[in-house]
Amino acid sequence: MPKREKKIIVIGGGLAGLSATMKICEFKVKVTLVSFQPVKRSHSVCAQGGINAAIDTKGEGDSPEIHFYDTVKGGDFLAHQPLVRDMCHQGPAIIRLMDRMGVAFNRTPEGHLDFRRFGGTLYSRTAFAGATTGQQLVYALDEQVRRHERDGLVQKLEWHEYLGAVVDGAGVCRGAVVHDLRAGNIFAIAADAVVLATGGPGQLYARSTNSTVCTGSAAASAYHQGAKYANGEFFQIHPTAIPGQDKLRLMSESARGEGGRIWVPRDPGDNRDPLKIPEEDRYYFLEENHPLFGNLVPRDVASREIYDVVYNRKLGVGGQPMVYLDLTHQPPELLERRLGGIIDIYRKFTGQDPSRVPMKIFPAVHYSMGGLWVDYEGDGHGMIDHKSPRNQMTSIPGLYAAGEVDYQYHGANRLGANSLLSCIYTGLLIGPGVVRYCDNLDKGHDAVPSSLFDQAKKNWDNRFAEIKRMNGRENPYALHRELGDLLLTNVLIVRENKKLLETLDGIDGIEARFKDIKCLDTSDWSNPTPSFINQLYNMVHLSRIIAKGALLRDECRGAHYKPEFDLNQPDRFDPHEFIDYLEKKHYGPPREEDYPPGHLAYMQRFEANEEEWLKTTIAQYKNNGPEISYEAVDLSLVTPRPRKYD
């Protein structure tokens, strides 16, 4: 029997999409790569500080196992452990690969890769290319994909948007419907499998560190088609960004990895030039409250501390929601060599030089830990079977997801420099599995009746015709801003059930007004408005997943913090006490006197909370909204315990 030709569609040209494309091409399988823009301009270029891999070049005793532990602990134990472990063990190979591909990683005097510190770990584990690591990694992968494009294995459809999957009567994905953003026409492409590598939904919030394409629209479309969406309520707020009108520009965690210190004046009325404020009048709150990790506590912890200092203790710089991120004590040439990119951004947007003046920063919406639910297959030894077609497959057979659009590597809070790793890791992991999936299919894409594709195209044609006929009073861009403000006000660092309920009502209101939108431009050629209206519809539905997930989860975990349900960890609590407590439980009821006062009660509260809430949130589209259920987390390798970074 002649081997049938396989075809795979990859949606998105960031790190996950490009690495998936490259890997699939190595199996000599043709890829159609669909992207909003030239792939080189994808959002992954915004990643700054670096990429993690425990190579231990500094004799600190780091290892992939410690990286694994730091990552699951950083995520408050919500991530499936074999996946995280496998990713951390693949880290060194990924860095070596990127290095071979020519990424200009900073180097040691001997010419090897250099590493620096990042948040949530005590080891120098982050490889970096100045402070534009994401950009450099995207470029290297873009170059490899261009090479495959020259060889005819990749067909790029840039300036095209994914609208939805083509799903047959048996519920199997057989291709995708895409929208040509220049010519304006809509068409269906047949394929054996479709990979969504479409990034996160930062545009749900009025201001974030995300690029304009990060609407989450593709994920929402999959959700509408029946794919499960997981852990939506876990949204990372990055502690350090420059305030702005259109965007909050990230100031990388690497600034703190290179010695940057966060502080505010101790006296809120102290309006002196920051350089004239002596050490004793400065409140280095992260260092004081967390002596072990200092400025490099994980992002959820740092953002909450900044929030507390600014809003509860009213210590923001000049009474404003801002704190200092200070690098002025570091030599300018070090900053230029290791942080050049972000120093430049700060200079361009504020006119001030971070080597002379402390930067003024505030937390900003940054990364979605949640995303499309995807499957995986363990190898039975605490790692992943790299050949399994189940890896990274959504609940729609044949539809895969990789990168920020999936959900499974970062639990309730992502550690810095782990996202570049998870994006490339999932992209590479998908390759062998998706190819095997195509091999196993009962029939190839060319044997699927064309009526299926005609119908899918027709449905989307009708949808867009309907959008273009919208002639109401609401401006879609203004309505988007309102939705974004609603989430920014109510679903951020500190969450309250009352406000979350109001948010859900607010979303209902916005959905009602959505029907009254005016399509401001009805032309065909290069018209972004109908496309944006469709994205807005999707964003309304994604917001609901996030708000409802947050409302129902009555606990504090990672980035999801509800003061009402704070378990109030005692000050001098040692997480090992909890392990000891679990051990002793086997030998009879725990005794109060075995622990410092209050600790036993805390551990019992913690244990009960874990029992109730240590589970994955699953949202499924039912009756125009998300139906929420919960699934078990794979905890087979490390015992979850209270987090502590002091």
Binding site: K23, Q37, P38, L97, R100, A104, R107, Q135, D246, L250
Partner: protein, 249 residues
């Protein structure tokens, strides 16, 4: 006196080949605004200064922090990214035009695919054996790395080509960005294995010999890439290659 409005004068064009026209918009002043936030404001209220409702202006953008290269346009006559064009330091009215050296798609959007095609011609990649783990990359000095990094920040934004008198809408000149990428890949120990092929690619029509040495490319590069150095070096290297070819072929 506090400023109350921002005026934008925008050159528009509905499609390739369509006749360009101008729209003027007056927006309420906001502190820390940049050209992108102004264009977003126009989307929310697409009404011109004389009260006419128009279609929102179209433009390309993505990262909004000058690492993606997307939002390049002519702002008060100067080619640059719109995201870092801060209203407070721009002369009013702010005049926006699409880049002139690339075909206009619509309004401020242009088609820069020619730049990406050039990257194919020069084999702008490292020829790795495959993505499987075969060990470390080559060891090389930080000094070379720094040199390479300066070149690798090229966003393919096209500023250097817009400013270049040699680069036109219709000719086949490759321009500074492409020459600099040849230098970048040839600098890498593995990349250098295909050095001659890349040099040959810029020795054809539209190649380095057509550079008129106007040196404006380097002045407009938002990433301060030493483009003229790259041009000089590739110029020398191609001359050597030419001599080699004469002797050996």
């Amino acid at each position: 006196m506090t400023r109350e409005t921002i005026a934008l004068k925008i050159k528009r064009q509905d499609a390739p080949g369509a006749k360009p026209y101008w729209n003027v918009f007056k927006l309420p002043y906001l502190p820390h605004a940049n050209v992108i936030s102004c264009l977003q404001e126009i989307q929310r209220n697409p009404v011109t200064a004389d009260g006419k409702t128009v279609t929102p202006v179209t433009w390309d953008c993505n990262c909004l922090e000058e690492v993606c290269g997307s939002c390049t346009m002519l702002i008060n006559g100067r080619v640059r990214q719109a995201c870092t064009a801060l209203v407070d330091i721009l002369e009013d009215p702010i005049v926006l035009k699409p880049m002139s050296k690339f075909p206009v798609v619509r309004d401020l959007q242009v088609d820069r695919s020619r730049m990406f095609e050039n990257l194919k011609k020069i084999k702008g990649w490292i020829e790795i054996d495959g993505s499987y783990d075969i060990g470390e990359g080559p060891v090389f000095p930080e000094k070379i790395r720094e040199k390479a990094y300066a070149l690798s920040q090229c966003m393919t934004c096209g500023c250097c080509l817009e400013a270049c008198p040699q680069f036109t809408l219709t000719n086949d000149f490759m321009g500074a960005a492409t020459f600099s990428q040849v230098r970048y890949f040839n600098l890498h120990p593995t990349g250098a294995m295909n050095k001659e092929e890349r040099l040959e690619a810029v020795m054809k029509s539209g190649g380095i010999a057509d550079c008129g040495n106007a040196q404006v490319c380097v002045e407009v590069c938002p990433k301060k890439i030493p483009l003229t150095e790259s041009i000089a070096e590739i110029g020398r290297e191609t001359t050597l290659q030419l001599l080699k070819n004469l002797v050996l072929k």
